[in-house]
């Protein structure tokens, strides 16, 4: 006991010390920042993404730039690649765009046509005029094709011509990574100078046949593994002479034409008929494990970013080769690229441009290329040893990346690139990863969904701006009328001075909540309700929102298949998760209510998961757990199911149609600790006299449970069910991290779809409408549960 209390005191002291230190540390930094703000009049905000290595390079560059330019203060923000878009868009929506930022290729047509990014041509011209031949040589040193990729002509909607919107910081062509050992053992020549898909097919067959050799006993060897997302899938379509869109523009989807069909059929055949190509099921495994294991002959198409990762491989030798092609004339390489750009609304355009130039072509360019993630934009560096033989990476044919440059084809994407890429990403898996429909049917489905989106009434340009002035005026008028009405009514009722004083004090005490309610709930709700009748990209200021009346709601109910899909997924999940979680919670609580030793440990063990179940860590963890090959769940189930001659499902992959939702349910049951603690407390609150009386009346354990325990717990169950429904309807982080809605929308949860509409497809008004529909559904369900439970819930001491 004394030890325990000593430990407790020590812990408390440590906690106190940490708090004191934390306040001191934060205070010190605030002072430092405040003083530096006053020394440097020009403030530039820079937003980018990147892992730690890239982050520290950008940081070093920024520090150096600040040293060289003492009047500039740079605030650097790195929200990480996955959250970059939502961060950028919240900043744009709030009217505080960053001055300089990374420009993702797929959102750049949209940003350019909304005039949110600034053309750079004038600044380059000015710079050349001032700097002369040396400066001109610097700009000429950029690979022209990468510069062209950042030209956009708003009139034609095509990339490649028009004003320049960004200065490239790096790019990469696509290649296949090969396992040299497997190629050698299978007797396949490494195709450094290119190969056809027929060569590829033969190589796959030879390598997969290694599974039968004694050297690989117990291992399953595959010839190749494709990693598809819309960009890399397009690369393969190109190499068969196909494409997403025909000459007729972005309405002309050509997935059903021979080239694309041949490619899709080829992929399907190798994966499902020949089975020489590994079918990674769509929920890509973190770290691309298949290749690391040495069981995969080649993997791709990937850019250069994989080389630093694969540098850690020690169990086999690897290299890079070109992507195969069907016919010689079909050779085409995809390009992945990123640029620095500047906001059209920056207050310091000249300073911003200077910074962009410094970041792209300054002293950092060599460091960037040594990272090994991409090809530097400057020819002089790309053809230098800094690129060709980066330190820390085993020697490989880095030149293969450069060899693909002449065959680069620019990717044309519609203005709503994000909708298109999402659509292809989700839907194509139905044919290519799940093998549920024919490739022709799949192509037709994609085309139909795309045209459905393009024909949406919301896309017409006939809407008038929202009359915010009118809205503000009406709101003020309604509020004023309401206050006056209340005031008059309050005056009419005669109250004694004491009552009046009590009333005033009462309101004073609840004032914090009243302020919070008006500022953080009611006001924002009204604003979002208004937004739900508008069309607003969320990137332009709110004043530019267009009024669409009920069109958002009509679209939702009448035309949006994803709305119904997300509703279906969520309802299935809620219907399974809520009852199962409550039953588990009650069962565990009852077990713990039997006075056992070590209860403290059990309580902690069962409660702690509830803290992380909805966090990024929890989701990443469970995603690994459900991995078909390496995950813990199937590792445990396999021996259990083996005697019955079955194997466990590929939860989030091939068997996702039926097993993905149960996988999420299982995870939610794991996180049921909060409810369990409450049930435990509830059980402890049931008077023992009730059980004694029941025993005297001859009731056994089972009857005691049904007639005493359950009724006494019923208010709690009711409460937990309501909160459980509300919580389960809002599942988001798990879905986002574990499956991102896929495959084929089998895990497209409602809030995930809402988030996509708001932050991926820029339909803030539509997202607001979705949020309101969710609110109404929850309200309706709660009322329903209230009604339905009237006779089921027992309230002790309820006064009629």
């Amino acid at each position: 006991m004394t030890i325990a209390s000593a430990v407790r005191k020590l812990l408390a002291l440590a906690a106190l010390l940490i708090v004191v230190w934390a306040f001191f540390d934060v205070g010190r930094r605030v002072v430092v920042r405040w003083s530096s703000k006053h020394e440097r009049p020009i403030q530039l905000t820079v937003v980018h993404w990147g892992e730690q290595a890239e982050d520290s390079i950008v940081d070093a560059l920024v520090q150096r730039y600040q040293r060289e330019n003492p009047h500039v203060q740079i605030n650097r923000i790195n929200p990480g690649a996955t959250d970059f878009r939502s961060k950028l868009k919240t900043m744009l929506a709030a009217g505080t765009p960053p001055d300089v930022f990374y420009l993702p290729p797929d959102s750049f047509p949209e940003l350019a046509s909304l005039k949110l990014v600034h053309p750079l041509d004038d600044y380059i011209k000015k710079d050349i005029d001032a700097g002369g031949a040396k400066t001109k040589a610097l700009y000429d040193d950029f690979f022209p094709i990468v510069m062209d990729a950042y030209r956009y002509d708003a009139a034609t909607g095509k990339v490649g011509t028009g004003p320049l919107y960004g200065l490239p910081k790096g790019f990469t062509t696509a290649v296949m990574y090969v396992n040299l050992d497997l190629f050698q053992q299978a007797g396949v020549n490494v195709p450094y100078d290119g190969w056809t898909w027929d060569d590829f097919e033969v190589a796959c067959r030879k390598i997969a046949a290694l599974s039968q050799t004694p050297q690989y006993v117990g291992r399953r060897i595959y010839g190749a593994s494709f990693d598809f997302w819309p960009d890399t899938l397009r690369q393969v379509l190109w190499s068969f002479g196909g494409d997403y869109f025909g000459p007729g523009g972005f309405r002309d989807v050509t997935l059903d034409e021979p080239g694309a069909q041949e490619a899709m059929e080829f992929i399907r055949r190798l994966r499902f008929v020949d089975k020489t190509v590994y079918n990674n099921t769509g929920v890509s495994t973190e770290g691309k494990q298949e290749f690391y294991t040495g069981n995969i002959g080649c993997i791709g198409p990937y850019g250069r970013w994989m080389t630093p990762r694969y540098a850690s491989i020690s169990n086999f030798r690897w290299d890079v080769v070109p992507v195969p092609y069907k016919r010689k004339q079909d050779r085409a390489s995809l390009m992945f690229y990123t640029a620095w750009t500047m906001s059209a609304k920056t207050r310091h355009p000249d300073e911003s441009f200077k910074l962009i130039k410094f970041l792209c072509a300054g002293p950092g360019a060599v460091d960037q290329s040594r990272l090994g993630l991409e090809i530097p934009p400057l020819k002089s560096i790309a053809f230098s040893p800094d690129f060709l033989e980066p330190p820390g990476i085993p020697r490989y044919h880095a030149k293969t990346f450069l060899d693909q440059i002449p065959s680069i084809r620019l990717q044309q994407l519609p203005r709503d690139a994000e909708f298109w890429t999402r659509l292809v990403d989700d839907k194509s898996k139905q044919a290519l990863a799940l093998n549920e429909v024919t490739t022709m049917q799949n192509a037709k489905d994609i085309e139909q969904l795309w045209l459905n989106e393009l024909n949406s009434p919301l896309r017409k340009d006939e809407f008038k701006p929202m009359r915010w002035d009118l809205v503000v005026f009406t709101t003020i008028a309604v509020l004023a009328a309401l206050v006056t009405l209340l005031w008059i009514r309050a005056r009419r009722e005669k109250l004694g001075p004491l009552d009046r004083a009590t009333e005033r004090t009462g309101y004073l005490f609840i004032l914090p909540w009243l302020i919070g309610f008006i500022a953080l709930s009611l006001g924002p709700m009204v604003v979002s309700l208004l937004l739900s009748f508008s069309k607003w990209s969320g990137m332009a200021p709110m004043g530019e929102a267009l009024s669409v009346g009920g069109a958002n709601y009509r679209e939702l109910v009448a035309r949006d298949p994803k709305f119904y899909q997300s509703l279906k997924v969520t309802i299935c999940y809620v219907a399974l998760a809520v009852p199962l979680a409550q039953i588990t919670a009650i069962a565990v609580a009852m077990l713990m209510n039997v006075r056992v030793r070590g209860i403290a440990v059990y309580r902690t063990v069962f409660f702690i998961p509830s803290l992380i179940v909805a966090s990024v860590v929890g989701a990443v963890m469970w995603r690994q757990m459900y991995n078909n090959e390496y995950g813990m769940v199937n590792a445990l189930l396999r021996p259990l199911l083996h005697p019955f001659g079955t194997t466990p499902p590929d939860w989030l992959g091939r068997d996702a149609r039926y097993w993905a939702i149960p996988a999420f349910v299982l995870m939610s049951v794991w996180g049921v600790g909060g409810a369990m603690i409450l049930y435990l407390a509830g059980l402890k609150g049931i008077p023992v006299s009730l059980y004694e009386a029941a025993t005297i009346d001859g009731a056994g354990r089972t009857r005691q449970f049904w007639n005493v325990t359950l009724p006494m717990l019923s208010p709690l169950i009711f409460y937990n069910v309501v909160m459980g429904i509300i919580g389960s309807f809002q599942v988001f982080v798990q879905a986002m991290v574990m499956t991102d809605g896929g495959p084929n929308d089998f895990t497209l949860f409602y809030v995930l779809q809402l988030y996509r509409q708001a932050f991926v497809f820029h339909n803030m008004g539509y997202a607001s409408a979705m949020a309101w529909v969710l609110f109404l559904i929850l309200l309706g369900l709660t009322v329903l549960v209230f009604r339905g439970s009237k006779n089921l819930v027992y309230y002790e001491g309820l006064k009629a």
Partner: protein, 304 residues
């Protein structure tokens, strides 16, 4: 599932005789069954933690090859160095993130306890017109999905010039959350009126009644509210993501997110190590407080 505190059936408070089911009532067989089930259940619940902790001691190559399950065979296979490496400035940059998180969490806990107890007291102990209606409105705001109000609230804080400061994370906590107000109200409503009357007759003002009588009485509720607020603030991800910008303002949850790179997670083993360190205070806190905690929940009492 929400992990917020839920209201609970009131306990009758008569400490002299045992009122609840006790050991005497459970047979030997039942106890053995309970033990067995509890141990098996705990093991199942602990599997993911084993997974994380095991992975946190592996090398990058092992983790990349899907080697998560096998425990290390010998001491040299335990890579303790993952921990200092994951916390280093070029990875997670742990210490500034820790001080930021501690400051935010501390201010949130204080704010939540103060504001919720004030409002709960107001709702429980003062008659004013509109009280019932306002209370119902307050409860119904619990159903409001955060997504409904996210953007407008962001615009509000931007107008106040509070972006990239801790204030947008702290201020809402000083404006009372419905959940905890509800708990305080239910607790304060149980306290006999005579006690308050006696204090008032002695000349205590409403403020003093709150500060010197009600607040000290409500330690069990304060404990729950404090712990839940601590956990929520410590683990909050979306709030810091939206409102904080500069790297030096990052919280632990954001710093963890830095492991998620452009092309997936680069250092899974380091991420796992960092996650263990980040989770540890929560586990220690709950373990140290859990007995008190469960009793508090039982004592708080609530009826819908």
């Amino acid at each position: 599932m929400g992990q917020s505190p839920r209201p609970v059936i009131p306990a009758q408070t008569d400490p002299r005789r045992p009122k609840y089911r006790s050991m005497e009532q459970t047979s030997r067989l039942e106890k053995i069954t309970a033990y067995t089930l509890l141990i098996v259940g705990s093991l199942i619940f602990l599997i993911p933690f084993y997974f994380v902790i095991n992975a946190s001691f592996k090398t990058e190559a092992q983790v990349n090859a899907g080697d998560f399950i096998r425990p290390p065979a010998k001491a040299s296979e335990v890579h303790v160095g993952n921990y200092p490496r994951s916390l280093a400035p070029d990875k997670m940059d742990f210490w500034p993130a820790l001080s930021n998180t501690v400051v935010i969490t501390t201010l949130c806990v204080i704010g939540q306890v103060v504001s919720c107890s004030l409002v709960g007291f107001g709702f429980a102990r003062f008659r004013f017109r509109g009280r019932g209606l306002l209370f119902m409105i307050m409860l119904s705001t619990m159903m409001l999905p955060a997504q409904v109000v996210m953007i407008p609230v962001f615009i509000l804080f931007r107008t106040l010039g509070m972006i990239d400061t801790f204030w947008p994370l702290i201020i809402p906590m000083w404006l009372a959350s419905p959940f905890y107000v509800f708990m305080f109200r239910q607790f304060f409503a149980q306290i006999p009126e005579e006690l308050l009357e006696a204090a008032r007759i002695d000349g205590a003002s409403n403020w003093r009644v709150y500060w010197q009588l009600m607040l000290p009485l409500s330690t069990p509720v304060i404990a729950i509210v404090a712990i839940y607020t601590f956990l929520a603030a410590w683990n909050d991800f979306l709030g810091p993501l939206i409102y904080l910008n500069s790297p030096e303002n990052r919280t632990l949850a954001l710093a963890l997110n830095a492991f998620r790179g452009e092309y997936g997670i680069s250092d899974v083993h380091l991420l796992m190590a960092a996650s263990v360190v980040t989770m540890l205070p929560c586990i220690v806190l709950f373990f140290a407080a859990q007995r008190y905690f469960v009793e508090s929940v039982a004592m708080t009492g609530l009826k819908s």
